[in-house]
């Protein structure tokens, strides 16, 4: 349905091209560094035995308000990749349109080859870095993961074009709260169940400690065979500790 809308928009554009171009596309010279409005928080990705697992919550914050609670921040890209995004959601939506076009043109070659996660990662790195050089960034941190021809790939790109490739990746708060857990517990031969448990441990930690986290998450899996994005679900949290009952007894006024 996404491609149909693009065609409809283009039919509207074609009649008064010049006028509409100025309104419906952004003029390079008048753009400056912007501010994010609707933002998503951390994304975590890990390699496991059969492929990549990625997790993100479904929150869209508007400053300190948790305004949207059903934002899908992990999406499919072509046959072999997943993209997860934190940061400004409108810029993520625009990136998805760029990727739609990239995959479409790749398919049009009809040569049997299809872009894998490494290529998508490279494309996005160039896009992000070039926008940064024009002082007009796409305000996102992206996680790209996938499997092609047996090779697992997991990488990230930031809004200024810094890119990494690693066995476990996180954005935002995830770097501080999730990656230490992953450094301790990640192994090359994790099963799907073990991988999910580790990701859930990280997401629960983020739920406790990240103010912009919401308790509605999706975990996505991609293997050579294909990919799935889970239905949204919530994690149980634990508050029934003795130390939580009367923490300020003996030190009234403390916290």
């Amino acid at each position: 349905m996404g491609n149909v809308i693009t065609l409809m928009e283009e039919s509207v554009l074609s009649t008064h091209k010049a006028e509409m171009d100025t309104l419906l596309t952004s003029k390079g010279d008048s753009q400056r560094t912007q501010y994010p409005y609707v933002t998503g928080t951390s994304v975590i990705g890990i390699k496991y035995k059969d492929g990549i697992l990625m997790a993100a919550d479904m929150g869209g914050s508007y400053g300190s308000t948790i305004r949207y609670k059903s934002v899908e921040r992990i999406k499919q890209v072509g046959k072999h990749s997943l993209i997860g995004a934190s940061g400004e959601i409108s810029d993520f939506q625009e990136i998805l349109k760029y990727l739609d076009e990239l995959i479409l043109h790749d398919n049009m070659w009809d040569d049997g080859n299809s872009l894998g996660p490494k290529e998508v990662h490279n494309y996005l790195t160039r896009v992000m870095y070039n926008r940064r050089n024009k002082f007009d960034p796409l305000w996102n941190s992206l996680v790209i993961g996938g499997v092609k021809n047996g090779h697992k790939y997991l990488g990230s790109v930031s809004m200024i074009g810094v890119n990494f490739e690693d066995d476990h990746i996180a954005t935002g708060f995830g770097n501080h709260l999730a990656r230490p857990i992953l450094r301790e517990e990640w192994r090359e031969d994790l099963s799907f169940e073990e991988g999910v448990k580790i990701l859930e441990k990280c997401m629960r930690n983020l739920l406790y400690r990240d103010r912009s986290a919401v308790n509605k998450i999706q975990i996505a899996k991609i293997t050579e065979e294909g990919l799935t994005v889970s239905q949204p679900y919530s994690l149980k949290t634990f508050w029934n500790f003795a130390a939580f009952q009367n923490p300020t007894v003996g030190a009234e006024g403390s916290w």
Binding site: E9, L23, S26, V38, R67, I89, Q93
Partner: protein, 237 residues
């Protein structure tokens, strides 16, 4: 202190606003308050913030009055041509995406949050929220404007899937009325627009007929009426 009292009439016209869009089983209901302010002065106490784009698609405008008007004018213009080329009514999705294109690509200059709502034969009633920045999100209901801050909790509790037209209308009126009670930038009357397969209906709820909330009291023409009601000669010895 005097400087605050004389409101800056050259301040940009902003619709403080409460806007709402709600889907029900059969269509959508759009609702809004009617206050447009320039600084502290209420420039228009009976504005119409629910604006028509096509026969079947309307939008609620919030934020800068000028920005939201110009966006709606352009999208109406584009949709008009699109409808001619397509040969049938535009879908709500196309209308919403055109609004998004303008909002996203001019994000540095525009300050307007828009709710797009309508009915088409393919998807039925749909609501799209397009906040600052140009994110587009299809939602079962959307709230926006400064008054919406006071409604998140209300909708968390009161919203239900699959309401009837009347239930949805009552919910919208109640919500805008609650927001007006607490948001200084919202006020006036409540306007609603209902869109379904049968067409479009506009409704008007004058400010003096809205329910009273906490710490609000009944309106009277004069103190004299109150005094006369309690006893015929209250001030005689």
């Amino acid at each position: 202190m005097d400087r605050d009292a004389t409101a800056d009439v050259n301040a940009p016209h902003s619709m403080g606003t409460t806007i709402i869009g709600v889907t029900y089983n059969g269509g959508v209901i759009l609702g809004a308050d009617s206050r447009t302010s320039t600084g502290l002065y209420v420039a228009n106490r009976a504005s119409d913030k629910i604006t028509q784009l096509t026969d079947n698609v309307y939008i609620c405008r919030s934020g800068s009055a000028a920005d939201s008007q110009i966006v709606s004018d352009y999208v109406r213009y584009f949709l008009h041509q699109h409808t001619i080329q397509l040969g049938q009514p535009a879908t709500v999705k196309v209308a919403a995406n055109l609004v998004r294109l303008l909002s996203y690509n001019n994000k540095n200059m525009l300050q307007t949050g828009i709710i797009v709502g309508g009915w088409d034969k393919y998807e039925g009633g749909k609501i799209y929220g397009i906040p600052l920045g140009g994110t587009i999100l299809e939602q079962p209901f959307a709230i926006g404007g400064s008054g919406s801050s006071y409604l998140y909790g209300f909708f968390d509790q009161a919203w239900k899937e699959g309401m009837t037209k009347d239930e949805a209308e009552q919910l919208v009126v109640k919500a805008v009325s609650l927001a007006i009670a607490r948001d200084g930038a919202s006020g006036g009357v409540v306007r609603t627009v209902t869109i379904n397969n049968e067409g479009v209906t506009r409704n008007f709820y004058p400010g003096d007929q809205l329910p009273l909330w906490h710490e609000e009291v009944e309106a009277h023409n004069s103190l004299l009426d109150i005094l006369n009601a309690s006893s015929p000669e209250p001030m005689s010895t």
